[in-house]
Amino acid sequence: MKPQKLTGWGRTAPTTAQVVHTADVRAIAEAVKHAGPRGVIARGLGRSYGDPAQNAGGTVIDMTALNRIHRVDAEAGTVDVDAGVSLDTLMRALLPFGLWLPVLPGTRQVTVGGAIGSDIHGKAHHVEGSFGDHISELDLLTADGEVATLTPADDLFWATVGGMGLTGVVLRATLHLNHVETAYFLVDTEQLGSLDELMARQSVDDEKYVESVSWFDAVTTGPHLGRGLLTRANHATLDDLPAKRRRHPLRFEAPQLLVVPDLFPPGLLNKVTGRVFSELWYRKSPTKMGAVQNITQFLHPLDMFGEWNRGYGPHGFLQYQYVVPFGAEDVIRHTVRRMTETGKVSALNVLKRFGDGNRAPLSFPMKGWTLCVDLPVGAGVHELCEELDELVLAAGGRHYLAKESRATPEVIARGYPRLDEWRKVRASVDPEGKFASDMSRRLELS
């Protein structure tokens, strides 16, 4: 077998591994049992930005072949599904039953296994919590080659949720779903002229909406620093839809407009294009209440552009995402100010209020503000991130491992005070450290 080169979505630190791609659970168990000295890790659709789903010199199990939806219980609202199924596939299969995944990230191109490994969150976090909060059961293939069926009563369950694949390979899971009448949202969009107005507005009424998120402008300086759009929505009921859409209320509209070619010069997303983009994005949505929008328009506008990560050019990019407790708004202000001052052009800047976190020791969300920005690799990015790390940690915040690609072991250990508790559970099922990734080596996780 020829080793295969892998990177994360940020296309930054490529490494090679033997990649096993099979739907045969026994073959997966064999690959785990016979993993060499550099270990083994599961990989979903590689939508993590950094290096958690790659394993230099070792084995990587590509889970996307294990992709069957076993059983949908429409009445109870549950689905029993293989870990390699993408949320896109799952959503399309569930909608006709009027069933909805309570947690959807900013792209549907992630697998159930990846969603568990990162304990992903969506715009509905303040109401729904994260992915791990909606699992009733999961099958975990552990280092000894055996399969354990885990429920939320098990510590290993919670070590696996958010555990970045380091406790074992999730093979299958049963998920709880919500019931919906339509595939549409009733969206309120508000244009707010500055960061403070944006945060103030987002801080009221959030509980009236299932979905809530803002986009902010990280290019414009001066009094309009951090201006942005707050979009909040609830699922539309049948009555909310215009007559023409009522005939197919559960229709899934997901056009893909274009695939970005792999030819971008490094500077394409530069100061000028970034400014133009920010202006257009801000202007495109004046304040408007109660608009009916489909899934792609509201949840996943980026999914209209396949492989858009190429737009950042050959050196790749990183996404910097953190959460800080409420009260630490200064960290957000400082981040936005420093982004504009240093001229770091990020087009995708998201701000959201999290609700309470869950029991998983390495789960990212906790009550507070989460912010994420894209940063193309280039001069000054290292220094800017180091400066922000310190502020985030001093405020009692932390960084999201699914986006992480450059922090130090200390930064992660400080942000996740329960890391040692997680390590103990992990060591009890993987004493030899068979499960390993570039990230686990870089951040000394295990």
């Binding site: 080793p3 080169k5 892998l6 940020g10 930054t12 630190a13 490529p14 490494t15 090679t16 591994a17 550099r38 930005y49 950094g50 290096d51 394993n55 230099a56 010199g57 070792g58 490094p266 050959p314 050196h315 790749g316 990183l318 690799v377 280039g378 001069a379 990015v381 290292h382 991130c385 690609s405 450059r406 922090a407 130090t408 570039d438 990230m439 080596r441 870089r442």
Partner: protein
């Protein structure tokens, strides 16, 4: 593991007393905790280099390395990789010496060829093998503009650098699919012990400036860079100057 912005956790310096190489190591050590392996001939200079890096916060070990002892190279690399992955390897050993002596003294000419060309090839092959096994790694090869268009004034040195430059560019191509990147660096005149007593050429640089170029090139996984950057333009012109004119240029 190296991170997204090019911070290594470990660095192997082949030519562990090279001023340019040490400037690169110091630069990385300033950014992050760094484990450094210095491969060099034992000397007071080596001890001092290790102490300086330790003072800068790095964890340092040394491995005895003589570029001319080809048979020992495999064991040298095994030792260097013995404490774990090597994220970045910098090839910085080299000899310049007196250019007029070099082409008229047989022993000296052969030594230059072996240190500057044969040894980099020997080490390069063994290094590639180990990097492919660990599944990642970045290599920095210090070449020289002297190899880009070989001049009468130092053609022995220039020709050895032309050879090693070609080898490492080719190695980079061969390793493209392996997640390993090779960056060939072509400095101009750098003020180090190698050039002591020589008159600085135009566009000369310090070891520290070359190190800045290296750090940025590694982060971007560039295949070929010049230090300082404008040398690229200068030498692309010089490369095309007809021989009768080239001969008369004061370079």
């Amino acid at each position: 593991m190296i991170d997204a912005v090019g911070n290594p956790q470990s660095l192997l310096l082949l030519g562990g007393t090279s001023e340019i190489g040490l400037a690169v190591a110091a630069k990385y050590a300033k950014r992050r905790p760094l484990r450094v392996v210095l491969a060099a001939r034992p000397s007071e200079r080596l001890d001092k280099a290790a102490d300086d890096l330790r003072a800068a916060g790095a964890t340092v070990s040394t491995v005895e390395f003589d570029a001319l002892d080809f048979d020992s190279h495999a064991a040298v690399l095994d030792k260097a990789f013995g404490d774990g992955d090597i994220d970045i390897t910098v090839l910085a050993f080299g000899l310049l010496g007196d250019a007029e002596q070099a082409w008229q003294d047989h022993g000296r000419a052969v030594e230059l060829a072996q240190v500057n060309y044969t040894a980099p090839v020997s080490v390069g092959v063994l290094l590639a093998e180990r990097l492919r096994r660990q599944g990642h790694g970045r290599v920095v090869a210090l070449s020289s503009v002297a190899g880009e268009r070989v001049r009468r004034s130092n053609f022995v040195y220039g020709s050895t650098k032309a050879g090693m430059d070609g080898f490492y560019l080719g190695l980079g191509e061969a390793l493209r699919g392996d997640g390993i990147s090779v960056t060939v660096v072509r400095p101009g005149f750098v003020k180090t012990k190698m050039t002591e007593g020589m008159k600085p050429a135009p566009l000369s640089a310090t070891a520290d400036q070359v190190a800045d170029v290296v750090v940025s090139a590694v982060a971007k996984r560039k295949e070929l860079v010049w230090a300082p950057a404008p040398l690229r333009v200068l030498f692309s012109i010089l490369r095309h100057v007809p021989r009768p004119i080239f001969r008369r240029l004061p370079i």
